[in-house]
Structures are given as structure tokens and as C-alpha cells.
């Protein structure tokens, strides 16, 4: 899952970026409104976290511009003063949730996960498809109740596939959502990851959890629970 973080305070920005990366989220960060808007328009994000008091372009303006450009990913606003007028203004501009500084990083990631789930039609905190369960909070993956050990990128890929279970996802989409903006990309790597996921999730080769649609991409076929 790829996150856009727009925050001007450098310490907070780096801290949040690190903490979210630790939770296996892909994070791009921007230090002002203009850069934030540019990234938001350029890349497909799953959730954006936008501070309201930004230099160059205010958080409200960034959100309005993103919404006008048709970007519909969920937006979480951060406010320092916690004034209700600011919150209402932000939500009116098109944000989906707010968080008042200072906040616990657990609270932030819970909100991010909730927004991402809501956007892709999931109701519960844990995502379950067939025998596979993923808990974004603890980043644990279970297959029939047993823990599966995944590498960071395998986890990111599976998380994204499960969020969009049933949808066809192209290789580019998958790359876009699991790599940071500056990362070296090689879409062939996706094939390798998919292959490994298949082995780990379905060692007996009976389930066929991920289907390949030639020329179009991949689809997680396990039914949502």
C-alpha cells in the first residue's frame, strides 16, 4: 500500500515515514503543498496524509486540487490546533478523516488502514480471503491459522492484492503501489514475487490463489470473507 505524506515539520515527517515503513507501507513524502500536490497528481496512492498548515500551498488547497483533478484516494488531515472549524473545512474540501497533533503512530496507522479498507470495500480490520488472513496492524499473515513468513515486498504485494481481491491488477499497478517513487523498478520482479507468494500460500498447488491473466495482469481469486 502506497502512502503520500505531506508534512512540513522535518522531524515529524521523517519519524512518521520511518514508522510507517516499518509497518511495511510504501511512503512518499513531501515538505510543502506544491510538492505534495505534484506527487498526488503524478502517482497512484492508496491513502494521503496531509498537514493543514503547509507552506506554499495550504493543505486545504492541496486537497481541493487533488479532488478537482479526479483523484479519489482517501485523505487524512493532520491539524496542530485541532480547531473544529479547520476540521470541518478540511472535510468539506474532500478529506475523509482527521487526526489532531500530537498523535500516536498506532492511531495514525489504524486510521490509514481503516481508510484504505473502506475505500476498497472491506469492513473488518483483518482482511480474510479463503484460508488466508492478513492483519495490517501486526503485519501477520496466516494461512489456515498458521503464520506465514513473508519478506517486506512479498507482504506489501499480498496486502495490496488482498485489499483489491477479485480485481484484475496490472503489473504496473502492482509496481506503483509497492515501490517508493525513487525506487529502481523492474516489473519482472513482480513475476518473481507472485511466484513466491503462490508457493508460500499454496504449497500443495490446490488453491491457485493468484490467477495470471495474460497481457492484463493478476487477480487474487480467493473469495473475500
Amino acid at each position: 500500500m502506497r502512502i503520500l505524506l505531506v508534512e512540513d515539520e522535518i522531524l515529524l515527517r521523517e519519524q512518521v515515514t520511518q514508522q510507517l515503513q516499518k509497518q511495511n507501507l510504501t511512503v512518499d513524502s513531501a515538505e510543502d503543498g506544491q510538492e505534495g500536490l505534484f506527487l498526488g497528481l503524478e502517482h497512484p496512492y492508496d491513502v494521503a496524509i496531509i498537514d493543514l498548515g503547509l507552506p506554499k500551498l495550504s493543505g486545504i488547497e492541496v486537497i481541493q486540487n487533488l479532488r478537482q483533478a479526479g483523484k479519489d484516494f482517501p485523505v487524512l488531515i493532520l491539524t496542530a490546533r485541532g480547531r473544529w472549524q479547520d476540521k470541518v473545512e478540511g472535510l468539506e474540501a474532500g478529506a475523509d478523516d482527521y487526526l489532531v497533533k500530537p498523535f500516536h503512530i498506532e492511531e495514525l496507522s489504524a486510521r490509514i488502514n481503516a481508510l484504505a479498507r473502506r475505500a476498497s470495500g472491506w469492513a473488518n480490520a483483518t482482511l480474510a480471503c479463503g484460508p488466508v488472513t492478513i492483519n495490517p496492524t501486526s503485519q501477520e499473515v496466516f494461512n489456515n491459522g498458521t503464520v506465514i513468513d513473508l519478506t517486506a515486498y512479498e507482504y506489501r504485494l499480498l496486502h495490496f492484492l488482498m485489499l483489491h481481491a477479485g480485481e484484475v491488477l496490472s503489473k504496473t499497478e502492482l509496481t506503483d503501489h509497492i515501490y517508493e517513487q525513487d525506487h529502481d523498478r523492474d516489473s519482472n520482479v513482480i513475476e518473481v514475487f507472485i511466484k513466491r507468494l503462490r508457493t508460500k500460500l499454496d504449497p500443495d498447488r490446490t488453491l491457485n490463489p493468484i490467477e495470471t491473466l495474460r497481457g492484463r495482469g493478476y487477480r487474487l481469486t480467493l473469495p473475500r470473507k
Partner: protein
């Protein structure tokens, strides 16, 4: 760039002097013109009358000779150099001259013809200029022969010019005097009329230097609204300053406890996880305290200077926002607002008050939230209900107690409710907590509209 502003009294004085000068100048001009014209026409009329005096006195013989009596009806004709002269000519030669013309030569002016008159100014010498009326007459003798004569009547202009000059002089004296008096009167009226403004200024100076704390109440009614508003503003500022001071003191004071606990834990704790847990708790407490006191300090509070704002609009906006945030809870909310209710309050305060209470309702409800707003007499009544677990009765008093410090955090409703309760306090409103028929808490808020 703007030129420095003229003072009010200077503006008025300047404008009045300008108008006065123009008015007096123009009236002097027209009076003078009227006088000149009437003096001129009076002189002409007089000259004509003299023509008739001469005509009645003159005897014309058959051969056209003219004889005049020694004494004429107008004695001026008989006094040499009197300034009034008469002469009868045939056009070529002088037939008769009055005694007054002795030694003075009156040139023959034009010969205007029978029954015609002709006025002209004749300069006799360096000192004497006369206005001359030449009047043509025809004498027909018994044989029917016509003799043409011209009667010249001349009057010295010096006298009349003197009169005119006298009139002008006295006219200027009078008008100048009147103008000066009017200006002085105007200046006095201005001073008297503008004195209340000076009083306000000195009152304000006294407030600035701390000698007084309010403007006095005795001002003319045009100023009263202004001075009352200034007084309102002053008391509003004063109460706000008081609030700043209090919340600063409260903040400093209430931060001491968590900081002391924090320090104690740091020094005595052996277990890093326990320390982490406890410092999290203390930091949360500190953060809540900062939020709360910041909110308290920024509460605007009641003031009649505030423009009316629509409660319905604010509630609607907050509800729409909360619907979005609590989307996954699928809350059914009811909102009933009688007409559109306006209240004189700070918009930010109302957002804070309603935002906190409504958010609590959304947070603690199971499925239902209900908002009801009505206007009653001079108050607005707001009901906010939910179907949650409600608030345990022993905590209820604590929660709404006024000015309660946040040393002891009440779980859940606490911070938001404390903020709401402070704002209601600042507006001299009331908040009550009841059990809702939905099952949860029911907050009843009463706020004065003004």
C-alpha cells in the same frame, strides 16, 4: 499617498469660511451693482426733470429768440460753479447759458434732433467731468417756421461718484463685520458642538494611562452608541485577558503533576516497558491539558458586538463532516432545527462547542444520534442524544462541573466535555445531562441568543 487628515473642526471652519466669503462677496457685488444702477438712473431722471424746468421757464419769440428769467426754479443754476449747468443751443451757437456756467466752457455735444435725448460724459478739465443730457426740441412760430434747439443739462459726476464710493465703503465695512462675527460665532458653535469628542479623547487617554477603566456614560445620544460599544469592547477584552491569565496559570499549575510523576517514574522505574507505558500516559495527559487550556484561552466569549451566526448551518456542516468520518459505523442520525436559529456568538466557539459534543455522541453511540435545536424566549435550546451506554451517574457531576481542572482525566467524554462546558460558561449558558430515551446520554444546552 494621502495628505494628512484635517481635523474635524478645521474642516468645518475651512468649509464655512469658504461658503461665507463666497456668499458675502457675491451679495456685496450684487448690492453694489444695484446701487450703481439706481444712482445712475436717478441721475438721468433728474437731468430730464431739469430739462422740463428749463423748458417751462423759457420764452420763445416769433423770430426764434429765447429769453430766460434771471431766477430759475432750481437755485443751483444761479450759483456759479455749483456743479449743475444748463445751456440752450441751436446746434451752431449758444443761445442761453445758466449763471452757474460762468467761466466754464461746455463743449457742444451732438445735436440729437427733436424730442431725442442723448447722454454723454464730458471731461471739462482735469478735475471736472460732467454727465450731459442733450435734449432736442422744435419751436414752431405762428408762421409755421421751425426753430431747432438743443437743451444741454450737465451735472458734475464728482458728487455722485463720491456717493457711490461712500456707499461701497460702508457696504464693505458692514459685510466684513458681519462675516467676522459669523465666523467667530461659527467657531464657538463648533467648539461647543465638538466638545464631547474632545471629552471622549481625553477619556480614552485616561484609560490608556490607567486612570479610568471605562468611558463615562454622559455623552450626547449620537456618541452614546459608539462609547457604549467601546465600553463593551473594553470589558470583552478585559474578560479575555482574564481568561488568558487564568488558563496560563492553570496550565502551568496542572502541568506540574504529570511532570512530577514523569520525573519520579524516570528516577525509580526499573522496567523499561513499564516506564514506556507510564510515560505514554503522562504525555497523553500533558497533551490533553495543553489542548484544553489552549482552547480555553482562545474562547472568544460573549459579546454583543458579534454578528449573528446560523447555528443550523454550523450543526449541518459538523454533522456532514462526522458522517464522513464515522461512515463505517452506519449511524442513523436525526436532526431537527426549528426554522433557522441565529445566535450572537463567535463562530469558532460554536464550532468548538457543537463539534466536541456531537463528536462525543458519534463516538459513544451504538447506532443512533439525535440533535434537536429550538428557540425559546431569549435562549436557544440544544438537545444532543445518543443510544450509547450513557455516563455513570457519579461521574456526571464531575464532568460538567465548572472550571474543573483536567488533573483527573475522565475517560472518554472528558476533554471534549470540559471544553464544551467552559465555552457554555463563557456565554453564561447552561448544560445539563439527562438520560436519553434512546438509552444513552442526553445533553441539554441552553445559550442566550444575545
Amino acid at each position: 499617498m494621502r495628505v494628512k487628515q484635517l481635523s474635524l473642526s478645521n474642516r468645518l471652519l475651512f468649509a464655512v469660511s469658504l461658503v461665507l466669503t463666497a456668499f458675502l462677496g457675491l451679495s456685496a457685488l450684487s448690492l453694489n451693482n444695484a446701487f450703481q444702477a439706481s444712482a445712475d438712473s436717478a441721475q438721468q431722471k433728474r437731468l430730464k426733470n431739469y430739462v422740463y424746468t428749463i423748458l417751462t421757464a423759457a420764452e420763445f419769440s416769433e423770430n426764434g429768440l429765447v429769453t430766460m428769467p434771471i431766477e430759475l426754479a432750481e437755485p443751483q443754476f444761479s450759483i456759479p460753479n455749483s456743479g449743475l449747468y444748463a445751456q440752450i443751443t441751436t446746434g451752431q451757437e449758444i443761445v442761453w447759458q445758466s449763471v452757474s456756467t460762468l467761466g466754464i466752457f461746455i463743449a457742444l455735444p451732438e445735436h440729437p434732433g427733436a424730442s431725442n435725448e442723448y447722454f454723454s460724459k464730458i471731461k471739462l478739465n482735469d478735475e471736472v467731468t460732467v454727465l450731459n443730457l442733450a435734449y432736442g426740441i422744435v419751436w414752431e412760430n405762428d408762421q409755421g417756421k421751425d426753430f431747432n434747439y438743443t437743451i444741454n443739462i450737465a451735472e458734475d459726476l464728482n458728487t455722485i461718484d463720491q456717493q457711490k464710493a461712500d456707499f461701497q465703503r460702508s457696504l464693505w465695512y458692514w459685510l466684513g463685520g458681519t462675516g467676522l462675527m459669523l465666523l467667530i460665532a461659527q467657531w464657538l458653535i463648533l467648539r461647543w458642538g465638538l466638545r464631547p469628542l474632545h471629552d471622549v479623547t481625553s477619556d480614552l487617554h485616561a484609560i490608556e494611562s490607567g486612570d479610568r477603566n471605562r468611558l463615562s456614560q454622559n455623552y450626547p445620544k449620537e456618541l452614546n452608541q459608539l462609547t457604549q460599544n467601546i465600553n463593551t469592547l473594553l470589558s470583552h477584552e478585559e474578560s479575555r485577558r482574564e481568561r488568558y491569565k487564568n488558563s496560563l496559570a492553570d496550565l502551568a499549575h496542572s502541568l506540574k503533576t504529570p511532570l512530577a510523576v514523569f520525573r519520579g517514574e524516570l528516577e525509580s522505574s526499573l522496567d523499561i516497558n513499564e516506564l514506556r507505558q507510564s510515560s505514554h500516559e503522562q504525555l497523553d495527559g500533558i497533551s490533553a491539558l495543553v489542548d484544553y487550556q489552549l482552547q480555553r484561552a482562545s474562547t472568544e466569549g460573549q459579546s454583543s458586538l458579534l454578528a449573528p451566526i446560523s447555528l443550523g448551518e454550523i450543526i449541518h456542516k459538523i454533522l456532514v463532516s462526522l458522517d464522513k468520518v464515522y461512515q463505517s459505523k452506519n449511524i442513523q442520525r436525526q436532526c431537527e432545527i426549528n426554522n433557522d436559529i441565529f445566535i450572537h456568538a463567535d463562530e469558532g466557539d460554536m464550532y468548538e462547542l457543537l463539534g466536541n459534543l456531537l463528536e462525543n455522541a458519534y463516538k459513544y453511540c451504538n447506532k443512533q444520534v439525535s440533535v434537536f435545536v429550538q428557540s425559546k424566549d431569549k435562549n436557544v435550546i440544544i438537545h444532543i442524544e445518543d443510544d450509547g451506554n450513557g455516563i455513570p451517574s457519579q461521574a456526571q457531576d464531575d464532568i460538567i462541573k465548572r472550571g474543573k481542572r483536567m488533573d483527573t482525566q475522565i475517560e472518554g467524554h472528558g476533554l471534549g466535555l470540559a471544553i464544551a462546558s467552559d465555552i457554555i460558561d463563557a456565554y453564561q449558558g447552561e448544560i445539563r445531562l439527562e438520560r436519553s430515551h434512546l438509552g444513552g446520554a442526553k445533553f441539554i444546552i441552553q445559550l442566550p441568543k444575545q
